[in-house]
């Protein structure tokens, strides 16, 4: 049963790790705006696509 001391210690360390991650995420401002990133991720990078398409076309020719 003594293993429980170790297990609890480890589980607490893991939990503290998550707490630290959470505090870090808050501190770097990841929770400041919970709307814009959801919109931003849906934008495509069209210019680069256009360029690569052109390059492909050129290569084909």
């Amino acid at each position: 049963m003594e293993i429980i001391f170790v297990l609890i210690g480890i589980s607490l360390l893991v939990a503290i790790g998550f707490l630290g991650t959470f505090l870090w995420a808050v501190r770097t401002g990841q929770y400041d705006d919970d709307y814009t990133p959801a919109v931003r991720i849906l934008f495509d990078d069209e210019i680069e696509e256009d360029d690569s398409e052109k390059r492909e076309e050129e290569n084909n020719q």
């Binding site: 609890i8 607490l12 939990a15 707490l19 501190r27 705006d33 709307y35 931003r40």
Partner: protein, 811 residues
Amino acid sequence: MNQESNNKCFHCGEDCGPAPVLFDSKKFCCNGCLSVYRILNENKLSKYYSLLETPGIKVTVEQEVPRSKFAWLDKPEVVEALTEFKDGELSRIVLYIPSIHCSSCIWLLENLHRLDPAILRSMVNFIKKEVTITFNHDKTSIRKLVELLTTLHYQPEITIEQIEKKEKKVINRRIIYQIGVAGFAFSNIMLLSLPDYFAIQEGLTPTFRSFFGYINLVLSIPVLFFSGFDYLASAYGNLRKRVLNLDLPIAIGMLTLYFQSLYEVISQTGPGYFDSLAGFVFFLLIGKWYQSRTYQALSFERNYKAFFPVAVTQLIDDGTTQSVLLSELKANDRLLIHNNELIPADGILEEGEARINYAFVTGESIPVNKKTGDELYAGGRQQGSRIIIRLTKAVEQSRLTKLWTQDQSRQETGKFKRLLDIISKRFTIVLLLIALSTLLFWLWYDSSRALIAFVSVLIVACPCAISLTLPFGQGTAMRLFGRRGLYLRDSSMIENISKTNTIVFDKTGTLTHPAKHKVTWHGNLLTDEELSLIRSLTINSVHPLSRAVTNSLNESKLIKTENYKEVTSRGIAGTVDNHEIRAGAAVWVKASVEPDPEEGSKVYISIDNEYKGYYLIKNAFREGVAGMITSLTKIGRLHVITGDNEGDKKRLQQVFPYGTIMSFDLSPDDKLQYVKKQEEEGYHVLMIGDGLNDAGALRASTMGVSVADDIYNFSPASDAILQADSLQLLPTVHKLSRQTMSFIRISLGISLTYNIIGLYFALTAQLSPIIAAILMPASSVTVVGFVTGAVHLLFRKWNTQKSNIIDDKTL
């Protein structure tokens, strides 16, 4: 319907009118919209239009700002104040852009680097309507960035306060950290307390018990001294000031829980109440956080500084001009005021034709003409050619600014005893009395259990559920109001609304629509042909009065106008179908002016030098005003106060019931005194206003609501901003606030019941950690569930008539 959509501007979606600007086989309503389209198209940014239809912002010719206006952005002190971060050749600034409204805006503003290579990256915060731009300050400047944004019709709003404020804005995330720590400790302590919850004895040696106890002890140290620190500090502060509030029983409860548990763990007499402590702090913080969530993009504390330009053009003796910050202006300085610029301080017109629009001050949008030597007041906007004024006062000494600056602190005339204050005072006193009598009783009856009974009382009396009721009840109501167009400064304003029993209206701009006009003809009867002659002439002018006449005649057909001319502050003339038409002031059409008591602007008309009559133009009442006023009479007395003269009394009496008190010719200071007097007589005033001249009155009232056609544009400091087209909801708002407060009272009753149940265990000295661990979360969850559910049900009865209101997300 189809035709209508075909006539929409490709950029902004507004109706293009009779003469759309055509380009690329697309229709545009004006050259402004077209120029933005061309810039975007040339830079391969036309995706802006494919994300959403007609995302653009229309900027009318009158709103356009001359390039020279931004010269002050090159001043080193301004650059320094605006720069958030500077390193090597890179700078970062945050600009507030009120016109951000859709995903196309986000896309365009985050692709600014394609328009100016000196911009490294730009990030939009949609909720705050801010864009953060990182740029190379050797290759571009803040001024150029602002100019770029302005050409795209995304004009940033930079205020004097931003420049004057030396310390940078710090986002306060402390409460989030506190919640995080408390939540972490709460969940882990609960896990380690499981053996106690299920009374597991088997296989658990005392070593384990004390091991769990000590871990809990360690975990709850940050809960008490970091997460709960604010409560302890506040209780101590209030105690020194001899103020009783809810923080005192909270702090007592927290400390008792902690030290009792500490004692139990060290003496190995029990597991302690660490789970209750952590849960208690966790729930309290959640309530506090919920309460602190308000509308980030709206500002309720604006004074004139948010609305005046940061700098103006000063004319120096040698004839040159320079850009000066407002704070540097003195009396006797001479200023150049261009079209559409604000007059920053009181002064005298020295040169030029002044047509001043005092819409921001009085809510009246029709400009007034001023002659050389006339006095001009701060806050007016020049419309027309540029003028030169000589200041008579510095900015802060001007008539209106003085009114706003004289008491910066919110006046507490609208003070009434808040429900929370009453409850917490009584609660604390009763609690301390019960605890002391328990102690005395047990000392006399069985002194060995006296201390534990005393401690138990302090533990179960923790006002957790009580302190959650108000934030959740009012916060829910606040958010539901927001969906319908009423934005409260903070959630406690619900209580202010429910207390009001007198309603004071400002007339101009609040009851009347600043841009919609009621046009009536006084004079000879006009034939259809004459009507179309008049319309053909007036359609050429952008003057608001001409527009009002044009719009009122929109059924008449248009004929081509020749020899059109416009003389500022006189009128317009032209030849239509071989008839000479003149419209404008009485002298312009050579009419003999008959005295007319009715208030309003007049446009005189003559055809072929024959005087025909005049159009009387008045601001039209907003939609639904009449119906709203009838239901408002149930709340209390109605007052109308206005800076205009009595000309409109008749019209007001048609809408307002008998007994409404109307006062005319009031100066902004009179309005403030008027509301103050009502408050002092014991009435709680709900003041509805819109202009800067109402700012004092709004602040003096129990509940000051400013009505705004565009909620992101300027509105004076107030307790709430009401979207103008939601004005007719006022009676419902009052009713719902009252009902919300009743549900909050019921909910307070429920939480007190829990405290009484707990007291039974405590008084009989039977309280165990497990009972505390059940009671505390159970009471919190039921109370929060009850009050939010009840408020939601309450608002559901009120069907969402308005679908065009922006939802919470965008605020």
